[in-house]
Symmetry: C2
Subunit: 319 residues, 2 copies
């Protein structure tokens, strides 16, 4: 994997004198047609109460596409349409762990029944029997890297501490088992999952958490990942940490109220986002750059990158 | 590595009915003699201005031992003894990246010369030629695992995305090159490094950062890691994110003032900490449990753990 670094060093003299190539410069120079729009029905827009200075706090979550976690994603769409989260709160924040909100503990929820049809799914946390999808994704990665860099460049997710395979498919970091039969979404910074009790079948999606620290990959396949925060994560990561049991705030006064949670498709003027196609040439260059930082600041490229440090580029769609 | 999970499942029936074994329960049941005191001269105690509610904000940093980054660590001891940081501030906070403080940009620092002898070290970010140390550390790990679990248990840091070897030595996560000649400290959540300009030899230690997001391992060997926050990281991770260039606050009024930074050995009543010896039987059990969560909540053990997710147990020394 050192080859990539050599490749950048071997660039023409003119290119070397120009501004160095960085992940940010690659994204800035990508072509408009390399970006893929995110559908409004895949966005969840959460409005928290304004902060102490009266500033709006909006958190936008992108929901995970099929074949992953869809029974929970459907519950979440149902709850958003029913305005179920309005008036709930962020009530648990643990440093280097999660911020958690929605249907929580406490008597106030006893009188807030879930929407019709929202039950805890009896569904797996990994997609089973998806070997064609996995092989296709792994093949696509190799192909785009070969096309952009030549055949001797290795895909840089060679080593993952938590799974035999780590890869990116349609904008999402995923992992797969040794036999490449099952694939599952992973817990990275900003990713959102379904809180549950001790028994695995106790989470509906009414109670959610976002990761606000180092990727807790040990949760993979133990909880349903349903999406990721694509804007506004700092409104959650900067909240005071809870001092009660398991980081729950000791008093309800410490909670951050949730004014509303809506599906993008239910808003008259939804925010519009797009992601850099993960089969584009610019994405291949972006990943290679992330794995081999060798620019004005960096002098020792790592030769690899953790799947949670790739951070698929996502931006507001330009008007 | 699935063996470990099997091992826990095969525990006697009585043990199965008892409370499940978790990383926390292993730490709670460790023996007092398995803990190692941290010397007061290895502690840096930073007092931030009180928060809006008037609460004290103290951040305690443990400095890295030899053979790593010692020229910067010595600079830092010198600056602390000179009270150099008193009156400086935390002036840059970037979500999922770092909080940064000390000798920063701005005219106020033009009149604040560094202490006598504090210059930018011409030193490497990795310790070179330490193959005996590395082999000893890797051997120790295997030995303690064999002793506790039997010979068929693999050490769970088999795969690291950023380095050929990842290991823990005297309480610190480290990485090493393929030939096991050079070793270096890694960037994990809470770890502290020396900010610098573009040229590698421009950091003195007067300007420091702490990681407040997913481990930015691409910085390894590109910056000097000098320690880690062992208490009070939330006082940094919850700070508002900066909205100026590179996350620097746009106005000095947004900064968090630093009242004082002192070496533990210069305080009349320093805080006392200890870490769980990383060659103890309890630490082997702790790592195995982290790599194979299989308790009341977890049902699918990962079979491995990222070196930055091990989190060596550190606690206040009991009186």
């Amino acid at each position: 994997m050192r080859l990539l670094a050599a490749l950048f060093l071997a660039a023409p003299a003119a290119a070397q004198e120009a501004d160095p190539v960085t992940p940010a410069s690659i994204v800035a120079e990508s072509a408009p047609e390399e970006w893929v729009a995110i559908a409004p029905q895949d966005l969840l827009v959460m409005e928290l109460a304004p902060d102490a200075q009266g500033r709006v706090r909006q958190v936008v979550i992108q929901l995970l596409p099929p074949p992953f976690s869809q029974p929970w994603v459907e519950n979440i769409r149902t709850l958003a349409r029913a305005h179920w989260w309005d008036g709930t709160s962020v009530y648990r924040v643990v440093d280097n762990w999660v911020a958690q909100w929605g249907g929580g503990e406490g008597e106030e929820f006893a009188e807030k029944p879930l929407s019709e049809g929202v039950v805890s799914p009896d569904a797996p946390y990994a997609a089973d029997g998806v070997h064609r999808m996995i092989d296709h994704a792994l093949g696509e990665q190799v192909a785009i890297f070969e096309q952009v860099f030549g055949t001797r460049i290795a895909w840089p997710f060679g080593k993952d501490a938590y799974a035999p395979h780590a890869f990116i498919l349609r904008g999402w970091p995923l992992a797969a088992d040794d036999m490449r039969l099952n694939a599952w979404p992973v817990h990275c910074y900003g990713h959102v999952g379904v809180a549950r009790d001790l028994a695995p079948d106790t989470g509906t999606g009414a109670e959610l958490y976002a990761v606000i620290g180092h990727a807790p990959r040990q949760l993979d396949r133990n909880i349903a990942v349903i999406g990721r925060v694509i804007e506004g994560i700092a409104h959650l990561s900067t909240l005071p940490r809870g001092t009660g049991d398991a980081g729950v705030y000791e008093t309800r006064a410490e909670d951050t109220p949730i004014l509303s949670v809506r599906l993008g498709s239910d808003l008259s003027d939804p925010p519009a986002f797009e992601y850099l196609s993960t089969t584009s040439a610019s994405f291949a260059r972006y990943v290679a750059s992330r794995a081999n930082r060798n620019d004005a600041f960096y002098t020792v490229p790592a030769g690899g990158v953790d799947i949670c440090n790739v951070q698929v580029p996502i931006r507001r769609t330009r008007e």
